[in-house]
Amino acid sequence: MSSVTAPASRAVSTDRAAADIWKPKKRFNWGFYVRHGVLITMCLWVLLPIAWVFLLSFKSLQDGAQRYIWPNNFIDPLYTHYEFVLTKPRIVGPVWVNFQNSVYVTLMTVVAATVVSVLAGYALVHLRTPGQRVILAVLVASLFFPTQVTAIIGIFSIQQRLGLINKTWSLMLPYTALSVAISIFIMRGVFQTVPKDLIDSAKIDGATSLRTLLGIVLPIVRNGVVVVIIVNFVAAWGEYLLALTLMNDASKRTLPVFLGSAAGGVGGLLWPRMAALYIVAIIPALVTFAIAQRWYMKGLQEGALKG
């Protein structure tokens, strides 16, 4: 990245070398300030709403119900609202149950989607797959079909026939299916960066295709796997409509359904307490991202975005 403008500035500076003797003062670099000005504005646009909720979670209850942004009084001690939402049984009960459901479903979805897309991506790129074109065509077509909306009636009737309504774990079936096409395309893009020779030589050494995948190829594409994990984590952790539709029983639902329906305040939950609950709810995803972002960025660069 650092080599991007270096040659250009050198070219310009040789042109100006003579002139610089007379005008040693550096020209005001408009491009630099405009560029960073716009980018910082965008970053503020992204950060300020989250910062506002964060601030709200520390306001006193009176100030939390007011319009002004900066409160007259912060709650004392500062963690009061967090303590409240994390210990009051009236809130903790349902939240804890729904949170556990979310963790449970999300983990199963992520594991299933990763295994599925790694195996399928590998087969589509490095194994001889009869009917490959048909498979890819169907997968591409599915990306342009409004599956989430059109299929939901069908998903309900299938889950009902299988007796899976109100079985929380069963959400992982449609969740995995919804992102399976995109996950396979991500893994396919990453597997295409692995040289064929490597796989052929492993084959000559007598390794089975599964050994080759697990022992040689998988370590190379691990950044791409991180991308698949994050994509599926975010999708499953935040899915609302299916969880709302397939789970009638409040105790079987996931956290997003609870929080989505609690938007206007649940059981007289006051704004600052809602805000504290909100921050608690987004922390798991943000921490996951903070830990994984290095591999995630690398994975994206390595070809995950090619699909």
Binding site: M42, V46, F144, W237, A263
Partner: protein, 322 residues
């Protein structure tokens, strides 16, 4: 996509597997060896995507009412005939289309600008910080995004109207913008939220596209005296065009099918502009009343067919003319 498909289907294929087996046997062998890898994908994809879509098609030809506990009757195309004269469906389609027209250009343009600017940041660490910050909203679960912006747009405690009314005095309490209640504003309000949400993710696509442009092109252009503006219109935009077109088609698809946003931010009010064909379908199938699944499935399929037609037209218009 088509060329990528064609190019990747070779290599192993070209080598005869063992000795001189007939091509049919070889195909069979490859089938037996490869399909175990594809089986899990097929299980999920067929079971919870293909089958439900087919199931919805099947239901759409019946008069299935979920709550009447009677076996549905096959009524052929009756639901579709009724839909033709159902003004609520066409209004819903028009509403979704209006939102899409407002949403898609911004969702392409803003991230493209961000990507071009980040691409020019020479300091690698600073560029990474920008990327990470812009990606933060992409990590927040969808319903929490909507809840956050419900607060932002709120009339009583929302910071946006606080700034407009109390700080800058552009409006007063009576005239303050009703972001989610004014039918002319609501599409923009939701689109603005979606841009916020998708900014980082889409920027990554454009950055990946920009990374493939050879740097010498810009250097040569600079030597020829081209300014930033000329270079953008002469080089960058053409190199990014494939990404722009793909994102346009994909975002058209997701914008037409938006549903959770409308349900959380607008509810099930038929007169509201958030009551699109998707909400109409969901409300008919799972809302109050008898839950007319048959009719709802027909709504879903008609909407899907309409979208596929538009996508087909887009593919035709955007086809590679090289």
């Amino acid at each position: 996509m088509a060329e990528a498909v064609a190019s990747s289907s070779t290599s192993v294929e070209s080598k005869p597997i063992k000795g001189s087996r007939s091509p049919a046997v070889q195909t069979l062998l490859a089938f037996v060896k490869t399909y175990p890898y594809l089986l899990p994908a097929i299980f999920f994809f067929v079971g919870w995507q293909i089958l439900p879509i087919y199931q919805a098609l099947h239901i759409s030809f019946t008069d299935d009412k979920f709550l009447d506990n009677q076996a549905p009757n096959w009524i052929g195309l009756q639901n579709y005939r009724d839909l033709m004269s159902d003004s609520l469906f066409w209004t819903g389609l028009r509403r979704a289309l209006t939102f899409t027209v407002i949403f898609v250009p911004g969702m392409i343009f803003i991230p493209m600008v961000a990507a071009i600017l980040i691409d020019r940041v020479t300091h690698a660490k600073v560029a990474t910080v920008y990327r990470i910050i812009l990606l933060i909203p992409a990590m927040i679960p969808a319903p929490l995004i909507f809840v956050l912006w419900l607060w932002m747009y709120n009339n009583y405690i929302g910071p946006i109207n606080y700034l407009l009314v109390d700080v800058f005095s552009i409006y007063d309490l009576q005239t303050q913008p009703q972001w989610l209640n004014n039918p002319n504003l609501i599409y923009f309000s939701i689109a603005f939220m979606e841009w916020w949400w998708g900014l980082g993710y889409h920027t990554m696509f454009f950055l990946a596209g920009l990374a493939t442009i050879p740097r010498d092109l810009f250097d040569a252009a600079r030597v020829d005296g081209a300014g930033e503006w000329r270079m953008f219109w002469g080089i960058t935009i053409w190199r990014l065009l494939p990404i722009i077109l793909v994102l346009t088609v994909i975002r058209f698809g997701s914008a037409m099918a938006v549903i959770t946003e409308y349900i959380i931010m607008g509810g099930y009010d038929r007169t509201k502009n958030t009551y699109t064909w998707t909400v109409y379908m969901y409300d008919t199938a799972f809302g109050g009343g008898m839950q007319f699944r048959g009719y709802a499935a027909a709504i879903g399929w008609m909407g899907a067919l309409f979208m596929l037609m538009v996508v087909a037209v887009m593919f035709y218009l955007f086809r590679s003319r090289d």
